[in-house]
Symmetry: C2
Subunit: 233 residues, 2 copies
């Protein structure tokens, strides 16, 4: 809806998480309008020029996460304005954000979490939202290669295999446990060993998030085997 060169600006947020080894997205049911009954991403109309704050507010009100949380990653994705945007025929333009929220941190207040595969299989998302979700997932998959954001999706303390399963869920691949471990531990500041006060603890080694944000060198995902790859042993 536009007139005289002035637009209604919406912020849409793709809130992604990993539950039960599957990548999921937070969606809300549309109550009214032509698309009533379909699902859509959390969003809000923007009332000031502070876009990041608007996105944080959406995240707070729908996912129950405070702005500065450890298990949280928020980043602007891109802005959709053409007719195939997430608000087509409805509002003017949409500034999209991606957020990664750990399962233990995510408290859906209005919507629910759909497994990503289910979203695509059932086609329940409103028009234009699939594209945003595609872009968001691809952005996150790419971020996993050269940043440490994956650690926002595990609860501390965590084991290397737990971290590995986050990568596997997001990339939809299986990774070699030995090589993954070596790679992670070889990157300074990715994870830090949990000081094992309890001398009697048994089981896998525990770690916490490190201070590094970027990975040098990058941990590249395996060459595209894509859909279904992780279903094979």
């Amino acid at each position: 809806m536009t007139n005289a060169g002035r637009f209604t600006v919406t912020v849409d947020v793709a809130v992604l998480t990993v539950r039960q080894g599957r990548l999921g997205v937070l969606v809300e049911r549309i109550d009214s309008g032509a698309a009533a009954g379909a699902w859509e991403l959390p969003h809000a109309v923007v009332h000031g020029p502070a876009l990041d704050e608007a996105a944080a507010a959406v995240l707070q009100s729908t996912a129950g996460v405070a702005k500065a949380h450890d298990a949280l990653f928020v980043e602007q994705l891109r802005t959709y304005g053409d007719p195939s945007g997430p608000r087509r025929g409805d509002l003017g333009i949409s500034v999209a954000y991606v957020a990664l929220v750990g399962e233990s941190t995510l408290v859906p207040t209005k919507g629910r979490v759909f497994a990503l595969d289910d979203v695509y299989e059932t086609g329940v998302l409103a028009d234009g939202q699939d594209r945003l979700l595609d872009d968001a997932v691809e952005r996150v998959r790419s971020k996993f290669e050269y940043t440490t954001v994956a650690t926002t999706l595990v609860a501390e303390p965590f084991t290397i295999p737990e971290l590995r399963r986050v990568y596997e869920s997001v990339w939809s691949v299986t990774l070699h446990p030995a090589n993954f471990r070596r790679k992670v531990l070889a990157t300074p500041g990715f994870v830090v060993p949990e000081s094992d006060d309890d001398g009697e603890r048994r089981g896998p080694d525990l770690f916490r998030r490190g201070t590094a944000a970027l990975l040098h060198p990058a941990m590249l995902r395996p060459v595209e085997t894509e859909s279904g790859a992780r279903d094979s042993p």
Copy 2:
């Protein structure tokens, strides 16, 4: 300038090119207002939801490039809305684009091309535009690592050393000629040899742009030596 949740939306375009071995950006002089006399990036107020088309129009009117040109790369960068955006205190929010235009294609109609170093040294850009330019340059430097966009900045046919100098200019580094050549030729579809009809031609081998868009594997820039690195032999 906002009211009742409606915004004036501007498209800003960072038009980058390489001239005389230096990365440059197209800027226009500000004629009126508080910042009169300073320089700013080409821009236009958006009147419809087709953002990409709005950016293409800006590019057309200020850089003289038609939309679908071979020596052209255009991509949305991000959207600035907070007070430190390129239009702060002036308009509402700004959707920024980056464009790469080959020197032979770029025909400034309103502004002029500044060498990037001069922009920073002289601080001639209006408030909030430095940040946009930083983001644009970093985006392009990153794109050079895993795409073939560098070829948009050389005129066909070109030599491998010419292409190398584009990389060196954008990254502000010096690259090993032998290794660069091997890397480029080892990537299928990056460049294709010019069929040398003129059997008498002498000199370096000539190439044209290939069809590949992505580089596998990526050509990573050397570890940050950054500012002034290419001034050393």
